[in-house]
Amino acid sequence: MAGLDEGTPLFVQIAERLAEDIADGGLAEGARVPSTNELAAYYQINPATAAKGINMLAADGLLEKRRGIGMFVAAGARNRLLEDRRKRFAERHINPLVAEASRLGIDADELIALIQKSVHTGEGVAV
């Protein structure tokens, strides 16, 4: 199951991977999304599971079906995904960071200084 983990529903992971690809630009808007069977063969999973993942994104309006040809990335999908990630940034990254800092006795000023340092040295910058 090429890199999928067994403790989370596979269709959710398929949807997340595709969403990730769209957000990162790997799957451009208007691009054709791999078919159910292509995904099933690649991940070695049941086609019904792969279809459920694709349909989840389609129901969200991130993918659109073109009859007879397949699924394509909808216009505006990338921005919507990035917007969603920005909204959840605090909840996903800042809150745990602050919690761990307070556990370690790092105060707010120190934490801000650490973040600024990381930004300046470029250590935390995504490649």
């Binding site: 199951m1 067994e6 403790g7 529903p9 099933a40 063969a41 070695q44 999973i45 049941n46």
Partner: protein, 298 residues
């Protein structure tokens, strides 16, 4: 949708032993189902009855809308590959030819492809084949038959991991091209997990769990940490196992976790570890009410 396989109140008794005890089960056409359970749970008996090779003591079995026993119309649309399948005394090519006559949907091209992929020697007498090669022959017949109901009972005795993955790949590819009802009995759950749409778990002749495979993932979690924190987190929810050493406790919690659960686990310093399908099945096999608990907590 009409089920491809419909079983109602099926019991199979050998003297006073129950091989199958009041099994009821519907399998939809066009799905891959994993038939799981320990040795002696009744998997092979169930498959043999579905293939018309054995008779129910009581209850009814319908395959493609009719009873399979001595029903040629049904049996030609059904293929059953057993663990350690035995063949009459002839060569590989003869076995393949005989199968091509019997199965109306036989795909000769696919049979050739599989034969080449598994490196099956066409002229070799079957009794001179290794165990793995005999399994490969069974798999070749099972897939090339393209039967509407395709049943494999631990089909890979003696096959190495590479050959088993070849089987999974070919099964998926051919299933995608021509969906059918596949029933696969296996102990290698981790390997085959992704292929399965549904799982049916037998334990001592009874169905203890039938579920969508993907819904089981993430539905059972191991919770570990300080015993007091674990107790607070679990509350009255169903659990399958408790282990304790000193102040540390580890509990298998049944039921999907909410976002709030994850936050609470973090504040309580608990470790959450979702169980894999294989682990869920191992735990469920020892819990007669497993299916009910999973359903009610979902």
């Amino acid at each position: 949708m009409t089920p491809a396989i419909s079983i109602t109140g099926l019991t199979r008794r050998y003297r006073d032993q129950f091989a199958l005890n009041d099994v009821s089960l519907d399998l939809e056409a066009g799905s891959i189902t994993g038939l799981l359970g320990r040795n002696g749970a009744g998997k092979t008996t169930l498959l043999r009855i579905l293939a018309g090779q054995e008779f129910p003591s009581t209850g009814s079995v319908q395959v493609l809308g009719a009873g399979p026993a001595e029903n040629e119309a049904v049996l030609r649309r059904t293929v059953f590959v057993r663990e350690d399948q035995t063949y009459p005394d002839f060569a590989v090519r003869h076995a393949l030819r005989a199968a091509s006559w019997w199965y109306p949907n036989w795909d000769a091209e696919l049979a050739d492809e599989l034969q080449a992929a598994f490196e099956l020697p066409a002229g070799r007498a079957i009794k001179k084949l290794s165990r793995g090669m005999r399994s490969a022959l069974g798999i070749t017949i099972g897939l090339a038959a393209r039967a509407e109901v395709t049943m494999f009972d631990e089909p890979y005795a003696g096959l190495d991991a590479v050959a088993r993955h070849l089987f999974y790949d070919r099964l998926l590819a051919d299933y995608a091209e021509q969906p059918r009802t596949v029933l696969l009995s296996t102990h290698l759950i981790d390997e085959a997990a992704g292929l399965l749409e549904r799982v049916v778990l037998l334990d001592r002749g009874r169905v203890v769990l039938q579920a969508n495979a993907d819904e089981l993932r993430g539905s059972v979690t191991r919770v570990s940490g300080h015993a007091l924190a674990v107790a607070e987190f679990i509350g009255g929810r169903p659990v399958w196992e408790r282990r304790r050493v000193a102040s540390q406790e580890s509990v298998v919690l049944v039921g999907a976790l909410s976002e709030a659960d994850h936050v609470r686990a973090r504040t309580l310093h608990l470790n959450l570890e979702p169980l894999t399908l294989q682990q869920v099945v191992v735990h469920a096999a020892g819990t007669p009410e497993a299916g009910i608990q999973l359903r009610t907590s979902a």
